[in-house]
């Protein structure tokens, strides 16, 4: 007879590690992590810079250190780990099809599943820049892996398109390693990365940031030789006459991340068009009962600490499901995004799973000054949270106590009201 696991976790990054530990600590006995890479830790292994764990560990760690702490915690439990194992398929019966070099093709059964596959970078194809197709165009994350793990120098004169955090971090890293970073070019009128990264990665090294600009041409024979940068108008169309030419051998793309959801889609799990991740309930359960999700696979996080918190919630809920099944349904509250809000996670709150409070994470779609985050139920305001500043690059979190949710109707809307 085949073994039935309590919880199988797909992906062994920070989300997968925290979910596994939480599932184990909440009573799941047979927990398995499946990871396609050689080691656990996910993207953190290549993020050698500092800045992880300030919320969770109250100290500033590098990516590998943060991952290391959770790997150690998981090693202390009897959670099983299979690395070098690629998950190919999840069936509606919650069977997982996976391959690895040692065990070959496996079909694994589990009472519940947590999806922790992370995200991948948008590539040049996704944004299509005209010009030739020379070598020397990398996504910032690929460059990060080459430099930090494999030990290759990727280029000497660099232009970065996009002001996402990975691009900013690489601007500093390559500068310190002796490369010249000529410019960081961002099509939007605001930066996509954390303000602290603009300061410590660009300002510290006098690297100019061109907002409302984009790369309009890439040229070079064999290798990148120059790129053209142009200012864009309000509709993001290049403005003629604003061309600037940069002689460079490398173009890094830091133009965003997309949750990695091929498995999720193929399993027929409902996807949220706003996040490109699965639609999730308050306890991170997806539209497929017993299948949960956490971390960058759900929505792109900028802080790993939030990934950990979200994954602990998912892991605990997966353990509960494996042990006790789904609770009796009661009242549901749909969560909608209102003015200036791009999306919310979760998009539905099932009151039977709410103990004291529910957490809502969201992002805004533009920079807002002093504002109030309004929580409305129809015409009635059920809560308001003040913020001095809101920016698309920084995820927001509000906590709604159960007493307030009890007052809400079938739907609540999260909206920004600028002062």
């Amino acid at each position: 007879m085949t073994k039935i696991y309590d919880v199988i976790i797909i992906g062994g990054g920070p989300a997968g590690l925290a979910a596994a530990e939480a599932a184990y600590n909440n009573g799941a006995k047979d927990v398995l992590i499946l990871e396609r890479d050689q080691t656990l830790g996910g993207i953190l292994n290549q993020c050698i810079h500092n800045g992880f764990g300030l919320h969770y560990f109250k100290e500033e760690l590098s990516g590998p250190e943060y991952a290391g702490r959770f790997i150690e915690l998981v090693n202390k439990t009897n959670v099983e780990v299979q690395t070098d194992t690629m998950v190919l398929d999840i069936t509606p019966e919650r069977e997982i099809h996976a391959v690895n070099g040692q065990k070959g093709y496996q079909i694994l059964k589990s009472r519940s599943i947590v999806l922790c596959m992370g995200c991948r970078e948008r590539t040049r194809g996704a944004i299509s820049i005209p010009g030739t197709r020379p070598a020397g165009v990398f996504t910032a994350g690929a460059a990060q892996r080459y430099v930090n793990i494999e030990g290759y120098q990727v280029g000497k004169r660099v232009v970065i398109l996009g002001s996402g955090d990975i691009g900013l971090i690489m601007a500093r890293r390559m500068t310190l390693e002796g490369a010249k970073v000529l410019a960081c070019v961002e099509v939007m009128p605001y930066s996509g990365g954390l303000t602290r990264n603009i300061v410590q990665c660009l300002h510290d090294f006098n690297i100019p940031l061109y907002l409302s600009h984009t790369v309009t041409k890439i040229e070079g024979e064999g290798r990148v030789e120059r790129v053209t940068v142009q200012e864009v108008d309000a509709n993001r169309n290049p403005i003629p006459g604003t061309e600037m030419i940069f002689d460079c051998d490398t173009l890094l793309l830091s133009v965003g991340l997309i949750p990695e959801n091929e498995l999720t889609r193929a399993a027929g799990i409902q996807i949220d068009r706003r996040t490109n991740g699965p639609v999730v309930y308050e306890n991170m359960e997806t539209s497929m009962p017993g299948v949960f999700a956490a971390g960058n696979v759900v929505h792109v996080h900028d802080l790993v600490d939030y990934v950990t918190a979200e994954a602990q919630k998912a892991g605990a809920a997966a353990a509960k499901y494996a042990i006790a099944g789904e609770p009796e349904p009661s009242r549901h509250i749909t969560v909608k995004n209102g003015n200036a809000v791009t999306y919310t996670v979760p998009s539905c709150i099932r009151m039977e799973n709410i103990d004291k409070s529910a957490e809502i994470l969201f992002r805004v779609n533009r920079v807002c000054g002093a504002s109030v985050i309004q929580v409305m139920s129809g015409e009635t305001r059920i809560a308001g949270f003040k913020r001095e500043r809101l920016a698309p690059g920084e995820m927001e979190k509000i906590i709604l106590p159960r007493v307030l949710l009890d007052k809400a109707g079938e739907e609540i809307t999260i909206a920004i009201e600028e002062a």
Binding site: I48, H49, P64, E65, I149, E150, L176, T195, R196, E394
Partner: protein, 113 residues
């Protein structure tokens, strides 16, 4: 008044620092006060980098400074790591270079490899 952004944590508070009295405003926590004052008197930064690794699973070992070092020494510190070769096994926290470039900070490993 100097306007700076605190980089100590992801919140990124907008600070104003009085150049004469070094009074800091706009910080949400005490660490911001220290940062604001340091930034005007002797700015410091943590440094992360990699050194060559032999006999391990990968070719590079990630490292960091054990404490912040003067900002103007950043390049010197990173350059000084160029010739260093470490042999596996290494553990998180192992000292790779003591008192790097006379800064008082050590270079320590940040991954078991």
């Amino acid at each position: 008044m100097a306007e700076i952004i605190c980089i100590t944590c992801p919140k990124g508070c907008h600070l104003t620092v009085d150049e004469k009295t070094l009074e800091v405003r706009g910080n949400s926590c005490p660490r911001g006060e220290e940062y604001g004052r340091n930034e005007l008197t002797h700015p410091v930064r943590m440094i992360t980098s990699t050194v060559k690794l032999e006999g391990g699973r990968f070719r590079r070992l990630p490292v960091k400074t054990s404490q912040s070092v003067p900002k103007e020494k950043m390049f010197e510190v990173v350059r000084s790591l160029d010739g260093i070769v470490v042999h596996s096994p290494v553990h998180v926290g192992d000292i790779i270079v003591k008192d790097v470039c006379g800064t008082g900070a050590d270079i320590i490993a940040t991954r078991d490899l």
